[in-house]
Symmetry: C2
Subunit: 205 residues, 2 copies
């Protein structure tokens, strides 16, 4: 039991270290040896937990992806379309904010995208399910494209180093508000979160 706990702790530290090194060097630029060195353990200790870098990459991404799947399940159980949309959108935004450094990695490294493809049977299916929650099963082209632009934009801009100075709650409020506006959700029915944000209405006129 004590041995298991030590192993579990090493595994957690290993994944945190891997994420840090992936962020700095990319997945391609990080070796098992670098992870071992950074952790101060032998390469054999790393091998005890993961046989390949691909396995580490999948394990690094897994918690965020599992959590997002759980949030989509929850969204699907909501009774009204409005509640489904808000649940799915806030789940997506929460995860972006919570896993910012991981998202930045998703956005810049094909290695981790391939790992997600393997662990989720395709990013396409994943995005399609989220889009269905946001705009329904049979959107017209304008609506489908809007959802695609929104999902891609929230993830890419939210995970960008440019936003690293923002605290989690500020980033969350603003991304959620942008999403609600793009999806045409009414202001008055907004959650407490959405109300904190400035309107863009007169912008650029």
């Amino acid at each position: 039991m004590s041995g298991d706990t030590v192993a579990e702790d090493t595994r957690s530290r290993l994944l945190a270290t891997a994420l840090k090194l992936f962020s700095e060097h990319g997945v391609g630029g990080t070796s098992l040896q670098m992870i071992a060195d950074e952790l101060g353990v032998t390469k054999a200790a790393v091998y005890y937990h993961f046989k390949t870098k691909d396995e580490i990459t999948e394990a690094v991404a897994a918690p965020a992806l599992q959590e997002l799947l759980a949030r989509m399940d929850e969204a699907e159980r909501q009774r009204t379309r409005g509640a489904q949309i808000d649940h799915a959108l806030s789940g997506f935004v929460d995860l972006i904010v919570q896993y910012r450094s991981l998202i930045a990695l998703f956005n810049s490294d094909p290695g981790i995208i391939r790992a997600i493809d393997r662990s989720l049977n395709g990013v396409e299916n994943f995005a399609a399910r989220m889009r269905k929650l946001l705009v329904g099963p049979d959107p017209d082209l304008a609506t489908a494209l809007t959802a695609n632009v929104l999902l891609a934009g929230l993830a890419l801009a939210g995970g960008s180093p440019e936003q690293a100075h923002l605290d989690d709650e500020t980033l969350r409020v603003h991304l959620f508000d942008i999403g609600r506006r793009m999806l045409g959700r009414p202001k008055r029915r907004g959650s407490a979160r959405a109300e904190g944000s400035a309107s863009m209405g007169a912008q650029g006129a």
Copy 2:
């Protein structure tokens, strides 16, 4: 003169071939030898034009980036803010549509991102200039984030293989319309393009 013309033609075909192979295998997965084989020339013939793969990558991206810079220059010369915004946005959208396969590559391969960084003194500067055109030099946080979500989302979603079945004009009209809506541009002042697109107003309510 005739020799020059042949060399120029080979250079063009070389870049087109490189882009095709980059799209299929990524920049990292494409070798000079693969490019030579695909073109049906010797590796020496490739070396005559480009000494490294990095040089090829920069040359592949250069026309799109130069064109976008020219469109931003043009936008800055417009007299009203509204015209500046529409010019910058339509320039951005035009380039996304025209260079879809290249954009898809930007979005998935760190190799080409590094090449752009070199040839433009940083993607950050590039994005900052576009954002300034769209929302002015000193936007509030909500506005700056909206512009970031928009630019990232248009490029990522527009270049996605999911949109490969759309003809250029259809994709252009819809992306431009999404951009105008997100930037709060008034409908009645929209270009002919924007008017062709369905409204999202009641979506998801």
